[in-house]
């Protein structure tokens, strides 16, 4: 009988094994090797493009050829701040973003509430799909559809015609309707998630303590769901602020996005400077949202 002296063969030192041993011994290096690619992406592609944007806003352009002249100047910022039209456009865009956000919040809350707390599981699934469905369609198609809906021969004016009314669809109001439609799912989903997370026991406790349904809603549901509404509003606000396609399709009025789009070819530095306006507004908005604990319900 052969003795049990057959020793385990020593692990073969192939390169893969050596590498894994190396990384096992150097755990910090392992961490960096894993993070290098995504970090490089974030730093170079993500923040890098922002830095290039910032730098571009410091260049000037040749008045004739409109080529970028690489001499640092603050002229673009002076132009943006001192020219009436840029201030008007920025203010108009922010107002639109606020109006769209408010409208979406008002529309989304009852729908989300019904989905989360009233509907049967079956209905709920159907509703979730129904809310998501518009997102499967191409954004441009939806914009063009609204262009038709709002036009003089469109369905809105067709319905108003017998009443002797007329609706000027190619206006701020028409654009507001379009944006409100486009971004509604982005509001419903976070609010729905937020409402669903409120434990049933809270509502029961409120009832046990003598709270009527309205009191329960105002003092329990609303405060708990508010961060979710703020989370949704980040989407609707930011998306409206930066959009340039819908305004171009629906109205002749200028918004931040359309101005940047229109002047980018001939006045790139001014466009770059102007594009910092929504960035500043959004950062301010996010700071407020953080104060309102919105990020906890994302």
């Amino acid at each position: 009988m052969t003795s049990a002296s057959v020793a385990e063969p020593p692990p073969r030192a192939n390169p893969g094994r050596r590498l894994s041993t190396f990384f096992f011994r150097h755990s910090r290096l392992r961490l960096w090797a894993l993070l290098a690619l995504p970090l490089a992406w974030l730093a170079i592609v993500y923040f890098g493009s922002l830095v290039v944007l910032l730098l571009s806003s410091l260049w000037d352009t040749d008045p004739f050829t409109r080529d970028v002249v690489h001499e640092p100047t603050l002229e673009n910022f002076r132009r943006i701040i001192e020219t009436q039209v840029y201030r008007d456009v920025a203010w108009r865009t922010v107002k639109m973003a606020v109006m769209v956000t408010v409208a979406d919040a008002v529309l989304a809350f009852p729908i989300a509430y019904y989905m989360a707390r009233v509907a049967s599981p079956r209905t709920r699934n159907v509703l979730v799909v129904a809310v998501l469905m518009p997102l499967w369609a191409n954004y441009l198609v939806k914009g063009l559809a609204w262009q038709t809906i709002l036009s003089d021969g469109g369905v809105i004016n067709w319905a108003l015609d017998p009443l002797g009314l007329q609706f000027d669809g190619h206006s701020t109001l028409g654009l507001w309707l379009t944006f409100t439609y486009l971004w509604l799912p982005f509001m419903i989903l976070p609010v729905y998630a937020g409402l669903e997370r409120i434990p049933e026991s809270f509502l029961e406790a409120s009832a046990d303590l003598g709270g009527r349904s309205l009191t329960t809603f105002v003092r329990v549901v609303l405060p708990l769901a508010f961060p979710a509404v703020v989370a949704g509003s980040i989407f609707t606000f930011c998306l409206t602020l930066g959009d340039y396609i819908a305004p171009g399709l629906i109205t002749s009025e200028q918004f931040i996005g359309t101005v940047i789009y229109n002047i980018r070819g001939e006045a790139l530095p001014t466009a770059a400077a102007f594009s910092l306006v929504p960035i500043v507004v959004v950062v301010a908005y996010l700071l407020v949202a953080r104060k309102l604990r919105a990020f906890e319900s994302l």
């Binding site: 830095v51 290039v52 730098l55 004739f64 409109r66 002749s252 070819g265 006045a267």
Partner: protein
Amino acid sequence: MKARKVRVARWAALGLLVGALSVVAAGCGGGDGGGGASTEIEGLGTSLEEIQTLARDEGEVNVVQWAGYAQLVDEFTAATGCKVNTKDGASSDDMISLIETGAYDGVSASGNASVRLMTTGQVAPINTDFIPNYADVQEGIKNKDYNSLDGQPYGVPHGRGPNYLMFRNDIVPADTNSWNVIWDDAELSKYKGKISIYDDSIFIADAAVYLKATQPDLNITNPYELDDTQFQAAVDLLKKQAAAGVNYWPGDVAKQISEYTNGDSVVGTTWPYQYVQLTAADPPVAVTALKPAEGTTGWSDTWMIYSKAANPNCMYLWMNHMISPEAQAAVAEGFGEAPVNLKACEVTKNANHCADYHADDESWWEDIYYWTTPVADCGDDRGAVCKTQEDWEAAWTEIKG
């Protein structure tokens, strides 16, 4: 203490990144200014035969064009082996941006792009020996400011046309023959919200054309050479029009076509292309397009070759193709413009096309002011007091409000 070190290191890293990127950014746009008059492009054959051989190896040509310009593309590909990829530009500025990407071999440039492209050296002068059809181009269109520099031709003329006044026959009186339908107070209140306007700063010249005819005391001689007073008058007129409510159509012609079709726009300015499309639609839209009594702006376009074209041989053959009688006829009828090679008149489907579009009638073109780049030099004894391209663009953003 450690936290502080980390923070310092973080800021240092960010600083390095910003520094590195600014070097990259500064290095990029530098470019080599000034176009020499050399027709040589790297890789271009030295004879027509060699160009034809090399073109087969290139196998493709990428061009920036006004919508609808490239014609008889399949025939061209069959004859030369060059596949044609087109990209529509929406405005002259748009076209310049596209050429500057370096991804294209050539462009159909209007005067307000071509002058800038020649000055910056983005396009190369051409050797007409390699473009046999060049000899057939109308002499009156060769060697103009917008297609040559110091007597050296840059590119081949493509065709010319007016910016029309177009209106729907069911809304606007049939005998309309004046731009006042889009400028006059009484008319503005009639058509407010339904006026279709080209969305580009060059449209300021259209206001100037109207002022030139209606306000002689402004002394406007050329709608692209506007001093302070003249420019302000044009801008005020445009602001009044914008306040009445207009629909801007960017170079994307589909928007204007759909607006005229569904009645959202009833009067405005257009290219012949949209008129041809609307009247040829099924069912046709009843519109009229004409050159009003005051005259109008227009364009005379030129196919130019990018000075660092990747497929210069195919591009030379393409330029030759676009001024062949057959392609010229197809362009003239497809876009609704006058050919520059009059041999095309014998092969147009409509035998009267050249007469209808006044191809050979120089007097008809006298009150059409071709697009060009506004510069400070007024071109007369006023000196360098005229508004520049930069002023025009800033004013255009302001007019739209």
